[in-house]
Amino acid sequence: MFQFRLDGSSGVPAYLQLVQQVRQALLLGYLRSGDQLPTVKEAVASLAINPNTVVKAYRQLENEGMVTARPGQGTFITATIEPVAPGPHARLRRSLEQWVRDAYTAGLDDDMVTAMFATVRTELRAEGVA
């Protein structure tokens, strides 16, 4: 059975953490169509979390078409998201690797690399690209 985790210090709302974990597990192939997610009660018992939070996360996953709730049975993965295709995946990885190498050569440390990545992502999001 899929197990959720919660990071209280991440600043990400709890329901969103659950949504992201399912999305990520789908992308990485850890969750597949037909798999069952924990019932609300199971998630509550394992995480000591508000049941409304679990319900909210499942509702969002349902709206995004990733899961289907079957009354009396539980919540099941129905998405057919293919993990990131190997071709473009590998190409992106290579160019990122080159970029990180260049950054280290230019004297950036890990924190500066992370900060630059976050800044670029924020700016792109503000432009409505991502």
């Binding site: 209280g8 709890a14 509550v44 018992a45 000591a48 508000n50 049941p51 409304n52």
Partner: protein, 289 residues
């Protein structure tokens, strides 16, 4: 939807000092409500007015439509209460406490209490005083839930508990919410523990309500604005807190439905729950009564 709690103009005065004043709240059924505020803000006073342990000087408290201020048995039968430090009669065995609960309450689900305690491995024959702090808290909770209350009131339930006992305690409370759709009102100092647990927030300070609402709406209604520092003291509607740095300032602002248009040099970011609560709590007292 009928509110779990409807509080109107509630106030309590000790001599010439108001411990709580002008308190009006409508708290939705089925929610888990965090009551936060500094020591002496009036949290315990409010909880004791809701549980009928104190009579208000003015105003009314209704629990699921029943007047709790009058301390009627029907109103109180709907409320389960675990007081600060979850007090138990230390010399009583757990089964004595259960028998006492049965004798003192209109409704009593002995099977439920025994099942909960059995699942936690707490022996009924043991004296309360010989149990660990976490186990005593669980016994107090099992007694409160055996009433089958519609509203569970917890006063600082996590204080004095170690991290594992905290988690076990909240797990028991959340399971009760999932199984029986009860409404929970809990006061706490441990803001970090509230985020995964509570969906409503009531912020009390100096005996008055500063902020109340669904946590998602509250977070949605505040922004952290960061911009260059100028000589002028910033002023804008809804300003909660200003933090000065050498060259920039951070403004925590309560925004209306329309987000203000900002100068492009300003950045607007969402605010986390803990930062938001601390900002309100640090705010200097504005009105002197």
């Amino acid at each position: 939807m009928k509110p779990a709690l409807a509080i109107k103009g509630l106030g309590l005065r000790y001599g010439r000092t108001w411990a709580l004043r002008d308190c009006s709240l409508r708290l939705p059924a089925g929610s888990v409500i965090a009551l936060v505020g500094p020591n002496g803000a009036g949290k315990s006073t409010l909880l004791q007015l809701i549980t009928g342990l104190l009579r208000p000087t003015e105003g009314t408290v209704e629990v699921f439509g029943q007047d709790a201020g009058a301390g009627s048995a029907e109103a109180l039968a709907q409320v389960g209460f675990v007081a600060q430090e979850h007090p138990l009669y230390q010399g009583f065995s757990v089964s004595d406490l259960l028998r006492m609960g049965r004798g003192l309450n209109l409704h009593w689900d002995r099977y439920l209490a025994e099942r909960r305690l059995g699942e936690l491995g707490i022996p009924l024959a043991k004296r309360a005083g010989s149990l660990s702090g976490g186990q005593q808290a669980q016994v107090a909770l099992a007694l409160a839930l055996a009433k089958r209350p519609a509203l569970l009131v917890l006063d600082e339930p996590l204080a004095n508990l170690d991290p594992i006992a905290r988690r076990d305690f909240m797990r028991a409370v959340m399971t009760a919410v999932a199984e029986d759709q009860i409404t929970v009102l809990m006061s706490s100092h441990v803001i970090a523990d509230l985020e995964a647990v509570c969906d409503w927030l009531v912020l009390l300070k100096d005996g008055t309500v500063q902020l109340a609402g669904a946590i998602d709406d509250v977070l949605d209604g505040h922004r952290m604005l960061t911009g260059p520092r100028t000589g002028a003291e910033p002023s804008m509607p809804g300003l909660v807190r200003v933090t000065h740095s050498e060259r920039h300032i951070d403004l925590l602002v309560r925004t209306g439905p329309d987000r203000p248009d900002l100068h492009p040099t300003w950045r607007s970011q969402p605010v986390g729950l803990e930062e938001l609560i601390l900002a309100y709590l640090e705010r200097p007292r504005e009105t002197v009564r």
